[in-house]
Symmetry: C2
């Protein structure tokens, strides 16, 4: 199938498919006589893999590593778990940080009467009057 069909079937935009190929994440597919890319079922599996991994927030680098492991029948699940574990930990840290920010913001918004008056606890907080 052509790139547009592969895009629809995988949820990855044609643009990104080409991009992933350009950065080596995907192998260049077969080409037709018209130079159009031709994707096979196996290619589709990889595209779906990438789409799912992206959805889980893995970076392209991580996805590349995961793909290599997926392609390698002799992989050890420990390697996969290590990548996922690292990613999970980073994610948890980001969530915690954002949660902290949310709490601060939430409090500031709550304290702001939001009317015509110029006094504003949000701006005060940002200004950190010293």
């Amino acid at each position: 199938m052509n790139i547009g069909e592969a895009s629809k079937a995988s949820g990855v935009s044609a643009k990104m498919i080409r991009h992933y190929e350009s950065i080596g994440l995907l192998r260049p597919p077969a080409r037709g006589s018209n130079d159009y890319r031709l994707y096979a079922e196996r290619d589709l599996h990889e595209l779906r893999f990438i789409a799912r991994a992206r959805a889980l927030g893995f970076s392209m680098k991580e996805i590349g590593e995961l793909l290599s492991l997926w392609r390698n029948r002799r992989r050890a699940s420990a390697q996969v778990r290590a990548i996922a574990g690292t990613h999970l930990k980073a994610l948890e840290q980001r969530i915690a940080m954002m949660e902290s920010v949310r709490a601060t913001l939430s409090e500031l918004v709550r304290c702001c009467h939001g009317d015509d008056r110029p006094d504003c606890p949000i701006l005060d907080d940002l200004t950190l009057q010293r």
Copy 2:
């Protein structure tokens, strides 16, 4: 004071100070006879404002708007509240999405024995066998 001192006093890198000036977020400061930038106390307040707003995750665009409001003694706190409220809502959505991803990942990592064997629920999930 020079940019290095302003950087230390505000927590904003010299690079970013120049950058903020280049994008119009900060007004060009006075210059010495040697063409060095000279920052006054007022400039420092603005830098600290930006640093704090960045820490709260506001975008440069939002910070520009907040700075304008801060500079305007006639502002209405409602305007500030609106910006902060929008930002808070977006933040909450991002947190929720990341939390969902975290739960999925956490479960996958938990189910993975992480040993020498090749079978791996993480890769299986990514592959979405159909």
